[in-house]
Every structure is written in structure tokens, then in C-alpha cells.
Amino acid sequence: MKRNLMILLGGALLVLLVASMLFVFQVRQSEVAVVTTFNRLTRSVGPGPHFKWPWPVEKVYKIDERIQILQDQFTEDLTGDNFNLLTTAYVGWSITNAIEFFPKFREGSIPAAQRMLEGILRSSKSSVVGRHLLSDFVNPNPQGLKFDAIENEMEQLVQSQLMTNNCGIQISFLGIKRLGLPESVTEAVFRRMTSERNLLSKGLEDQGESEAAKIRSAANRQAAEMLADAQAEATRIRGEGEAAAAKILPTFQQNPQLANFLLRIDSLEQILKDRSTLILDEGTPPFDLFRGSLTNSPAH
């Protein structure tokens, strides 16, 4: 009896298992499942366990609702001022309405959706680039740069296209990934850059030379000024000395003869101080002593 119950329970469990495999399906978080009944779309369900009729009655397709990133290839467009500009962009897009999305692309094919999105992106980029000047993309003046505006315009254009297409897709963000110039243009840019560099290096050298020359001449001028000042100062000092000496001079007025005599004696001493030869005769004291006493008169 007990054993029968066990067997019954076991059997029931087995049947339940097989039945759940046939009749139940799970949908993960961030997914949505689309159910078709005899290949006709009937409902979509969110995360959790769900009931279905087994194949071939109902079929379940799971669709990822997360944001996916699409990057496109370089496309070459003309700017408003007729420059060729290459751009690539990336788009964060997601499926927001599986019911609308599913029938638009064969069995909810993501690559097919990406192809469509890429086409929309290309045409949007082309028309937005054509509305702007090259200086809106690159500009040394931050006010002239319209990068954010360009991205916003592209995003809005793509968004509105998707709305009209009514395919259950939305984009969350759009950004320009790369900007490029056609290959031949890069060569021209290189030539321009080289000439700019040459100008810059020449300018730097000349500027250095002229600044150095300025520094040198300023130094020379300053030195000359200093010297002139010093000479003026020296003259002033000497003047002071002469004035001080002049104050003493009246002393000599007491007896000019003596002063004169002393001065002459001093100068005599000064003159004959060193390596001099003096030729004397009897007239000079003290040799006047010889006068008359020496007889070197002629013999006859």
C-alpha cells in the first residue's frame, strides 16, 4: 500500500517534470518573450515563469531588452561649407516594444534591426553634417564649437525616424566616435602644419635673439650709468677734499715767503728723488765752498 503510494508519487513527479518542460518557459530579467500561436503573434510576456502550449501550437521567441551599442563605419559627407568630412557614430539603442518590433524583422532578428538602424543613422548624419560648417566641429573658440548641438540634432533625427517607422526601437544616446578627413586632405593638412611649425620655430628663434639683444644693451646702458654716477661721485668727493684743503690754505698767508720756500724745497726733493743725474757748478751750495780753492785754470 505504502509502496504503491511511493510509486504513484514518483510517477506523478515525473509527469509533472515532463509537463513543465513542455508547458512552461522562463523569461529572464531584462528579456521579453514573444509568443506566437500557429505562427501568429499573440502576446508578449515579461520576466518570470509562464505557461504555453507545446510546439507546434505555440512558439516562444526571447528578445533582449537591454541597451545595445551600434557603431557604424566611416561615412563621407559634405559640410555646409563644402568640406568633405568623415564621421563615425555610436548609438545606444534598445527594443522597447516587442510586439511592434517582432513582426518588423524576421523572427525578431537583431542584425536586421541593426541594418535598418545603420541606414537611418547614415542618412541622419549626412543631413546634419550638411547643415553645419566645418568650424562647428573644430574651432579654437569654445563658443563656436557646436559639438553637443550636432550630436543632439542627430539623435533627434534618428529618434523621429524610428518613431515614424514604428518599429518598437528607441535610442538612448548617440555620440560621434571619430572625425576624419579624406586621405588626400590629410596630406594637405600635413603641409600646412609643417609650414606652421617652421613659422613657429623661426619666430621663437628671432624672439630669443631680440630679447637677448635687449637684455645685453640694457646691461651695457646700466653699467655705463653706474660708471657715470661713480665718476660724478668721485668728482664730488675730490671737490670736498679740495674745499677742506682750501680751508687750511689761509695759514700759509701768514708768511708767503716761507710758504713759497718750503714748497720749492719740497718740490726739489720730489724731483730728485730717484735715478737722477745732477751736474753742478760752484754756484750751487754747498759746492760754493770749492770756489777759489780749486785751481783747474789753464796751464799757460
Binding site: 545595445q68 557603431q71 555620440g175 630669443g208 668728482t235
Partner: protein, 368 residues
């Protein structure tokens, strides 16, 4: 189960046969065998159940979080759904599914859209092919600066996952989204900088602006990550123009050198001038002192001698003159005395000057 049955049947022939009731004995043995095999099966079933339940244990590392999906739906709401480090239990698949999310470890992405084309082998071997005449946009990446110059730059972003649920359930490939945000930020920031600022003058500003832009984009796109920091790996001018850019660097250094030379000259001149000024004024001061001193000394002597002079001026002068002559004559090199001729006429004197040349300074040979 079959094996068990066979095994339990195998020893049967060894058993001593009971000839009286062979069917009864056989069926009893069969029942015995069935019972014992059933016990084994039951045991195996329990073991299986226990193993089944135990297989639900799992550990979460310190650098990750986990979310249990029960029938595809997360267990718990928001923050509560995140399981921290430690041992956890869930029902085995297909009831529960454990999703692990790396969280505390710092991850990084590198943007190479601004770099020229290199194969991974070339990158590793550091053996780059020489640059061509131009850049092919299909393969070579570059950035356009605010003044329409072309530069190369590659940057790396370090980030942590801040909102794991958003990171995992919001994006198919969130790190790809982060890289695209970084690419866009690099492009955007380069378009705001002039080439010299980007490469030389304002590298820090470039990095800061880049980080600000990428942080803003990540917040705006709600990628669920927090920026740790940004790193500019390299910023270089196009390789085609290396010489031209090097020339500017050389010119810049030359300019500094020329200016330094000028400053050296300036210092030299000014020091020399100040030395000269000091010499000039000192000389003047010395002259002044000497003049005043000598005049004072003369005055003093004058005052001392005046009384003596006044006593007998003729004698005084005679004495003084003789005194001076004496000292002067001793100092003389040659003294020639020339007495007057007896007839009172003056003598004719012929002098031949052949002075001894001044002594050369020590060190030079006294040859000439």
C-alpha cells in the same frame, strides 16, 4: 539496479538446495533479492536528493556580487537582490540561476581611435613600420584639434561598477558602452584644445577636461559605473611631422639658451661695472684724504717753522736749503761737478744719454 539484482542472484546456486518445495524457496529468494535491491535504490535516491540540494550552495568572492534569478526574475528588490561575499544557497538550475557581477575590482578600457594603425604584433615588438605620406581614415586613427591640426593620442579609463544591476541588466555589453563614451570624450576634448596645449603646454588640463567629459557622459547614459581616473597614455604629433615638431622644441630650447647667455652677460657686465664704480669712488676718497692730509701736514710744518724763520729768514733758508741738498745729493745716482773756467766763460758740455733700460719684470728672460 540490474547489477544489484544479478549480484543478489549470483550466490543462489551456492545455497544448499531444498528439494521439498523448490518453487517456494525460489520465490522467497527472489523476494529477498528484490527487497534488498529496493533498499539500495532508496538509498541512492536519498543521496541524489541530498546532492541535488547541496549543489545549490555557492560562494561569492570579495570582489563580486551575485544575483539569484528565480524563474528568470531577480529574488529581492534593488539593493536587497545583491548578495555579498560569503556562502549562499539557491535552488539548482532550472529553478534558480546565479549571475555573478565583478564589482570592486577596477576595470579599464583603452581608447585607440586616436592612434595610428598597429597590429598587435607590431605593438608588442615595438617595431613600427615607417609612416606613409598620409593617414588613411579607414585604418589610422587620429584626432583633429581646435586649430585643425592632426594629432595622435591614446587614453585609458579606470572605472568601478557602481550599480551592478544596471551594468548587467541594462546593457548587452556595458564595457563597450564605456569605451564608446571614452572615444567620444577624447574626440570632444581634442576639438577644444589647440595642438600645442594638447601636446605640451596644458597636458593636465587636457586630462582633466577628458575626465570631466567622460564622467558626464557616463552619468548621462546611466552606465552604472563610477570613473576612478583617466590616464593619457601618449600624445604625439603625427609621425610624418616629427622633424618639424622637434625643430620647434629645439628652437624653444635654443631661445632659452640664448636668453640665459644674455643674462650671464648682463650679470658679468653689471658686476664689473659695480666693481669699477667702487674703485673710482674709493680712489677719489683716497685722493681726498691724501690731499687734506698733506695740506694739513704742510700747514703744521709751516706753523712749526714760522717762528724760527722769523728770527732770521736768511739763515733759516740757508740752513734748510743745505739740509735738503745734503739729503738730495746722497740720493743722486750720478753727481757731476763742473767747476767754472778760470776765464769765467762757461764750459761746453757734451752729454751722451745711454740710459740703462728699465729692469724687465721677473719671469721674462733678460735677453733683449
Amino acid at each position: 539496479m540490474n547489477d544489484d539484482a544479478l549480484n543478489s542472484k549470483a550466490p543462489m546456486p551456492a545455497r544448499p538446495p531444498t528439494p521439498e518445495t523448490p518453487e517456494d524457496a525460489g520465490s522467497r529468494a527472489l523476494a529477498e533479492a528484490l527487497r534488498s535491491s529496493f533498499v539500495v535504490v532508496k538509498l541512492a535516491m536519498w543521496v541524489l536528493v541530498i546532492v541535488f540540494l547541496c549543489s545549490g550552495f555557492f560562494t561569492v568572492g570579495s570582489q563580486e556580487k551575485a544575483v539569484i534569478l528565480r524563474f528568470g526574475r531577480p529574488v529581492g528588490e534593488g539593493e536587497k537582490a545583491l548578495l555579498g561575499a560569503g556562502l549562499h544557497w539557491s535552488f539548482p538550475y532550472p529553478i534558480d540561476d546565479v549571475v555573478r557581477i565583478p564589482i570592486t575590482e577596477i576595470q579599464n578600457v583603452t581608447s585607440t581611435t586616436g592612434w595610428y594603425f598597429l597590429t598587435p604584433e607590431q605593438e608588442l615588438s615595438q617595431n613600427e613600420p615607417p609612416p606613409g605620406q598620409s593617414l588613411n581614415p579607414a585604418v589610422d586613427g587620429y584626432l583633429i584639434t581646435a586649430d585643425a591640426n592632426i594629432v595622435h593620442s591614446r587614453v585609458r579609463l579606470y572605472y568601478r561598477i557602481e550599480d551592478p544591476t544596471r551594468y548587467v541588466f541594462g546593457f548587452v555589453n556595458a564595457s563597450n558602452a564605456v569605451r564608446n563614451a571614452l572615444d567620444n570624450a577624447l574626440l570632444y576634448t581634442a576639438a577644444h584644445f589647440e595642438v600645442d596645449d594638447l601636446l605640451y603646454r596644458d597636458k593636465a588640463g587636457f586630462k582633466d577636461d577628458l575626465q570631466r567629459r567622460v564622467t558626464g557622459l557616463i552619468a548621462q547614459q546611466q552606465l552604472g559605473v563610477a570613473v576612478d581616473h583617466c590616464e593619457v597614455l601618449d600624445s604625439i604629433p603625427p609621425r610624418q611631422l616629427k622633424n618639424a615638431f622637434d625643430q620647434v622644441t629645439t628652437a624653444r630650447e635654443n631661445r632659452i639658451r640664448v636668453l640665459n647667455d644674455a643674462h650671464t652677460y648682463e650679470n658679468q657686465v653689471l658686476y664689473r661695472a659695480s666693481a669699477l664704480t667702487a674703485a673710482v669712488t674709493n680712489e677719489a676718497a683716497a685722493d681726498k684724504a691724501r690731499l687734506v692730509e698733506s695740506v694739513t701736514a704742510d700747514a703744521k710744518r709751516f706753523k712749526d717753522l714760522l717762528p724760527k724763520y722769523e728770527l732770521n729768514p736768511a739763515l733759516f733758508t740757508q740752513v734748510q736749503l743745505l739740509d735738503t741738498m745734503g739729503s738730495v745729493l746722497t740720493n743722486l745716482q750720478d753727481k757731476i761737478f763742473l767747476p767754472t773756467r778760470a776765464d769765467g766763460k762757461s764750459r761746453e758740455l757734451r752729454l751722451l744719454f745711454n740710459r740703462e733700460p728699465p729692469q724687465p719684470k721677473t719671469g721674462t728672460t733678460p735677453q733683449s
